[in-house]
């Protein structure tokens, strides 16, 4: 067994435990009389989900490093993709009192690797839930021949140091206010795996947007 096998199987194990934790926490929501600990429950669940997202990101990045990951690009409908992301994250959003919605032309389709982009969007939603005040919105559209997938919130927005940057910032992993840029690094790597007719995918980090807070866009050729 090499390191990759050990890592893959232990991550499998860790994720199973996390899944049990998440699922148990979710079922506790339905039990009356747990009202007292609701906030703590919510926090626990959020942290468990973040841990899970981080594990996925680490494992995928490790594989990318070793040239083991290529984008399995297929045609997908963005509306179906968003619908599933909302179904996955709805319960956490509700518990946090945040409205999670999606918006796009139901016929809009694009070419991307659903598994990889799913990892990116789940991670963005996870982050967004921490920083949004009351709303988090997924939207999609076509921009200059790219498929744009956007996650926006109505929070404070991204700190100045993270903006703009699009491709320059976060080349390495920086530590800023106690948090890593793992999610952003991951998003950039996944975008970069998508290419078409000489164009490469990229990301854009901005503030303002339609909800006035943070606005994160992944652009796929």
């Amino acid at each position: 067994m090499n390191f990759a096998d050990v890592m893959a199987s232990s991550i499998h194990d860790m994720k199973n435990s996390l899944w049990m934790v998440i699922n148990t926490l979710e079922s506790l929501d339905d039990v009356p009389g747990t009202e007292l600990g609701r906030d703590q429950l919510c926090l626990l669940r959020q942290e468990a989900k973040r841990l899970n997202t981080n594990l996925i990101e680490l494992l995928t990045l490790y594989k990318m490093e070793n040239g083991r990951v290529s984008a399995d690009v297929r045609e997908s409908y963005l509306s179906e993709f968003f619908e599933e992301r909302v179904l996955e994250n709805e319960a956490s959003a509700r518990a946090l009192g945040i409205a999670l919605d999606w918006e796009c032309d139901p016929d809009l389709h694009g070419f991307f690797d659903e598994g990889l982009v799913m990892g990116v969007v789940n991670s963005l939603i996870g982050n967004g839930l921490r920083y949004a005040r009351s709303r988090l919105m997924l939207s999609g559209g076509e921009e200059d021949g790219f498929l744009a997938i956007r996650v926006e919130d109505d929070g404070e927005g991204f700190p100045e140091a993270m903006l703009d940057s699009g491709d320059a910032a976060g080349q390495g992993i920086e530590w800023l206010q106690g948090r890593t840029h793992l999610g952003i690094y991951f998003a950039r790597m996944v975008a970069g795996l998508h290419s078409n007719k000489g164009l490469k995918g990229r990301i854009h980090i901005g503030n303002g947007g339609s909800l006035g807070g943070g606005s994160f866009t992944i652009l796929l050729p």
Partner: protein, 544 residues
């Protein structure tokens, strides 16, 4: 809203098998399904139990974790289920994985799951996914039916009809259409579909498909270029390496082919078919270390796989012998005989490789005895002996110095497969490897010409209305080369033509059946076979 409810009801009434090695996981997924309204749920704790459960009853939907601890993994369960047809038409196999990357799909696999589900998932996501999949599958029911009965042309027709009226999921339909064009042998059509898809987007599956068409139509340089670029742009896409290796082998660049497969094996070592291909290439290149490694791996993977076969053990024994460890080779053969007790192919391999090992050790008499035994076992398999076994025995005969027998066997192989390019190439390789005193090109060319000439003569006779003569000619040919598909099909064809004139005839009908069955067993996807079967059905219908 109505239709959504109706669909949900469909999911509720389906039978489920949940496979996971963790008890807590099994009960959790069962709980989720129960909340959705599913009542018919069976559980299995490992691959072997899952297979046993599927042997007992047919499930509509199998939810199987990829990682099942020791024993079979999810992919091996899927392969066994599909290969042995334990799950039928219209049932779904969903692979549950811990990762969001799809490297498993990208490996050398024959069967893909109908969908993937990444852990952890919520019950809402599970329901939505199941409903969507069930809908898609219902749309493709007729296509799947055609495919299962190998009627690829029909499948393409059905997909064309859908492509003409549907507005959604066109990409998926197009991908399927190209695949079935390729399998139906309609290379021009497949090429057009792939090129059209590529004009819209650089899709890896379309690039792979285009390369496969180029390969199938003998444009090896172009095929190589496509696979080279594809593997360069998508280094994790291991299927590109498999096809690149295949192309290089056809170009007689065996060393490069081996290096290519070695790269793919490093990326994903779990694919048994790839380890097998690598082992065989390495044996050919006399790189016994690599062969030993790859084939040990394949034998190990084979413990839980439907792809377990004597060839893997025989190859491993040869690799050991090649390294001078003949005794270890004999041990592997003994193990093979135990694993495949009573199987004629296993006994044949055992006799051949044992003979090679004795011969290398200078035990001439033992080697000769083995060769005699191998000859008897070979003949006992009968007319329908697979061509690769004929080549294997030819190789062993040649190595042991019996060039007469080797030549006779090679002649048989060419006569029975005069239209199979890959096989003829292997015959050529073998003639060269064995340093026989013949020129491979003219050896193969002469036999080919003779058979092509015979087929042409028969077809002309039939066209000229001399059907009885044509029947006589082809029957004689089919008796002499029972494995030759073209001859068998022509024979069936002229018999059908003659019955069209003289009416149905029991003896003739039985013969047609036998000729068609021979081809069906050897090459069920043969497009010509489909045509002659249609002629036959037409005849029976008209005469009824």
């Amino acid at each position: 809203m109505e239709s959504v409810n109706f669909r949900r009801h469909e999911i509720e009434s389906k039978s489920f098998l949940v496979v996971d090695d963790f008890g807590d996981m099994r009960s959790m997924i069962k709980g989720m399904l129960a909340t959705i309204g599913v009542t018919d749920i069976d559980l299995a704790a490992n691959g072997a139990d899952a297979v046993t459960a599927m042997e007992k009853r047919r499930y509509d939907i199998v939810l199987c974790d990829y990682n099942l601890g020791a024993g079979k993994n999810g992919q091996q369960v899927l392969e066994e289920a599909r290969h042995r047809e334990l799950i039928g038409l219209g049932s779904m196999f969903i692979m549950v994985t811990a990762e969001n990357t799809r490297e498993i799909v990208m490996s050398a696999v024959e069967y893909e799951p109908d969908a993937y589900l990444t852990k952890p998932f919520t019950k809402d996501l599970l329901r939505s996914r199941l409903v969507r999949l069930a809908g898609k599958q219902k749309d493709l029911e007729d296509v799947e039916h055609a495919v299962r009965s190998k009627e690829f042309e029909k499948a393409v027709e059905l997909l064309d009809e859908k492509l003409a009226v549907q507005t959604r999921n066109l990409g998926e339909l197009t991908k399927l259409k190209a695949e079935f064009c390729l399998r139906a042998g309609s290379h021009d059509k497949a090429e057009a579909v792939y090129r059209e898809a590529l004009s819209r987007h650089d899709l890896p599956w379309a690039r792979l498909g285009l390369g496969r068409v180029l390969y199938a139509t003998g444009r090896l340089d172009e095929a190589k270029m496509v696979f080279d670029e594809l593997s360069r742009d998508n280094p994790g896409f291991t299927a590109a390496y498999d096809w690149l290796a295949r192309t290089l082998r056809s170009m007689n660049r065996h060393r490069d082919a081996q290096a290519t497969l070695q790269k793919a094996v490093e990326l994903s070592p779990q694919a048994i078919l790839r380890q097998k291909a690598l082992g065989q290439l390495a044996l050919h290149n006399e790189d016994h270390d690599t062969a030993e490694r790859a084939l040990s791996h394949a034998v190990k993977l084979g413990h839980h796989s439907v792809y377990k076969e004597p060839l893997l053990y025989a190859g491993l024994a040869r690799a050991k012998a090649g390294k001078g460890a003949g005794e270890q080779g004999l041990k592997i053969l003994a193990e093979m005989e135990k694993v495949f007790r009573g199987q004629p192919t296993s006994a044949l391999y055992s006799a051949m490789v044992e003979g090679e090992i004795h011969s290398a050790a200078g035990r001439t008499q033992e080697a000769e005895d083995c060769l005699v035994r191998a000859g008897e076992l070979y003949r006992a398999i009968g007319d329908e002996v697979p061509a690769h076994l004929t080549l294997e025995l030819a190789r062993t005969s040649g190595k042991l110095g019996n060039h007469e027998q080797a030549k006779a066997l090679l002649k048989d192989a060419v006569r029975n497969n005069h239209a199979e390019t890959e096989l003829l190439r292997e015959v050529g390789d073998l003639v060269r490897d064995l340093n026989m005193d013949i020129d491979p090109e003219s050896f193969i060319g002469d036999i080919r010409k003779e058979i092509v000439h015979l087929n042409n003569r028969g077809v002309q006779m039939a066209r000229a209305g001399r059907l009885q003569e044509a029947v006589g000619l082809f029957e004689e040919a089919a008796a002499a080369m029972p494995g030759n598909k073209v001859v068998n099909l022509n024979c069936a064809r002229v018999l059908i033509m003659s019955m069209r004139e003289t009416g149905l005839n029991r003896a003739h009908l039985e013969k047609v059946h036998e000729f068609l069955n021979r081809v069906q067993r050897a090459d069920p996807e043969n497009p010509q076979l489909r045509r002659v079967q249609n002629m036959y059905q037409q005849l029976v219908k008209e005469s009824a």
